[in-house]
């Protein structure tokens, strides 16, 4: 088997966020590094989206299971804060998948959070910006709740962080 960083990243495309099954961990931006040593030892570094996210442990095990499924027995998966996650790390493909799933993708921003970027989030159903923030806390730590005044529906946003 040809063990390269690119190959491992392709395998990891299979691993999805358990709560947003359209989104791969690679597109989510939580895979922060893949290394293959000369003796074919694979190291995958991951970082949590939110420190209190209960799905992170599950995702780590899922990465390990996927490596094993593809015959890679010599591996280490680390969870660290070395390269902390922020929502700008979501890929363009990931953003598109989120929108199709009915979750407004987070805006790309300068990492200075204020109310302005939480108000008037674009509705993932009708693309209207005539929306209101209802609460910055939603059904999971990474989602906020909004209401669209145009299509009169509640929707969720993957929060900017």
């Amino acid at each position: 088997m040809d063990l390269t960083k690119e190959h491992i990243l392709t395998l990891l495309e299979e691993v999805k966020d358990p709560e947003i099954p359209v989104l791969s961990l690679v597109d989510l931006g939580v895979i922060t590094g893949v290394e293959v040593s000369e003796d074919d030892h694979v190291t995958v570094n991951m970082t949590p989206t939110f420190a209190g996210c209960p799905a992170m442990d599950y995702m780590k095990k899922d990465v390990e299971r996927t490596l094993e499924k593809h015959g890679i027995a010599n591996y280490t998966v680390n969870m660290t804060f070395d390269k902390p996650w922020d929502s700008n790390k979501l890929s363009e493909k990931g953003r598109q998948h989120l929108k199709e799933f009915g979750l407004a993708p987070p805006p790309k921003y300068d990492l200075i959070l204020d109310l302005d970027i939480l108000e008037h989030v674009k509705c993932p159903y009708c693309d209207s910006e005539n929306t209101d923030l209802r609460t910055p806390f939603g059904p999971t730590l990474c989602r906020s709740m909004h209401y669209c005044n145009n299509c009169k529906q509640m929707f969720e946003q993957f929060k900017p962080l």
Binding site: A51, G52, C53, F81, P84, L111, L115, P136
Partner: protein, 251 residues
């Protein structure tokens, strides 16, 4: 670098968050409106996650694993400020405590993200982004309710007066304070408190609430050295109740 000083700092950071996280979780199912129920429950989950990040750093320095540290110590071994262990009271008290606490917490994280002790700097850099949502939540409600009805203003003012001596207790200095400041690990409680006062004053000025002269208030110290109110031990007993049935259980 003095490992005892670092451990002391990590314990106070972690314990504050574990205990306030537990208090926040007590709002689950009891919030005054559904959104607030979810908000306090989400902040509980965040805070317990944040405490885990700091307990993990302690484990790397040779302390016991996070579950053991969280669930098997007695009240006099906890380093949290007394502010976070006080019962939730009514919603106005929980909201005021949340406002006073999280405005200090974010400053700690901002300053610690510059720490010369790299493991703390990395964790703080990550967590300060999450705590922004807590501060935003607290400040929005204090601004809205603090300039709304007479009852809301009276209740918040009374809770503010009651919570302030405990809030000042958050800034109790460590016995390693000067060393932490000198080595660039931590900017120190005086620096955090000065910035905190600026930020909470800026919010309170936009409301009908009055911030009393802090010089006239005696801070409730002791928490950082294991002296607690009668409310902490019952909280710990409840938190560890399931764990203690079978400490070796696999979860």
């Amino acid at each position: 670098m003095n490992e005892l000083a670092i451990k002391d700092l990590l314990y106070k950071l972690a314990d504050d968050q574990l205990i306030l996280g537990h208090r926040n979780s007590e709002w689950t199912g009891f919030g005054p409106i559904l959104e607030e129920d979810i908000a306090f429950s989400s902040m509980a989950q965040d805070k317990i996650g944040h405490s885990l990040a700091f307990y993990t750093l302690l484990q790397e320095l040779g302390e016991a694993d996070p579950d053991t540290v969280a669930f098997t110590r007695n009240a006099n071994q906890f380093h949290n400020s007394q502010l976070v262990e006080l019962p939730n009271g009514e919603y106005d008290f929980s909201l005021i405590r949340h406002f006073l606490y999280d405005n200090a917490e974010i400053i700690r994280f901002e300053m610690l993200s510059q720490s010369s002790y790299e493991p703390i700097a990395k964790v703080a850099t990550k967590l300060k982004g999450e705590v922004k949502y807590h501060v935003l939540h607290a400040n929005t409600w204090i601004k809205n309710l603090g300039s709304s009805t007479e009852e809301a203003i009276l209740r918040l003012q009374s809770s503010l007066n009651e919570a302030l001596p405990y809030a000042l207790g958050m800034f109790e200095k460590s016995k390693y304070e000067q060393e932490l400041v000198d080595t660039g690990v931590y900017a120190g409680e005086e620096a955090v408190k000065a910035e905190w006062l600026k930020r909470i004053s800026a919010v309170i000025e936009k409301t009908d609430l009055k911030l009393p002269d802090l010089a006239t208030i005696e801070p409730k110290f002791g928490g950082r050295y294991g002296e607690h109110t009668e409310h902490l031990q019952p909280l710990l007993d409840e938190m560890a109740e399931v764990f203690k049935i079978d400490p070796t259980a696999e979860w």
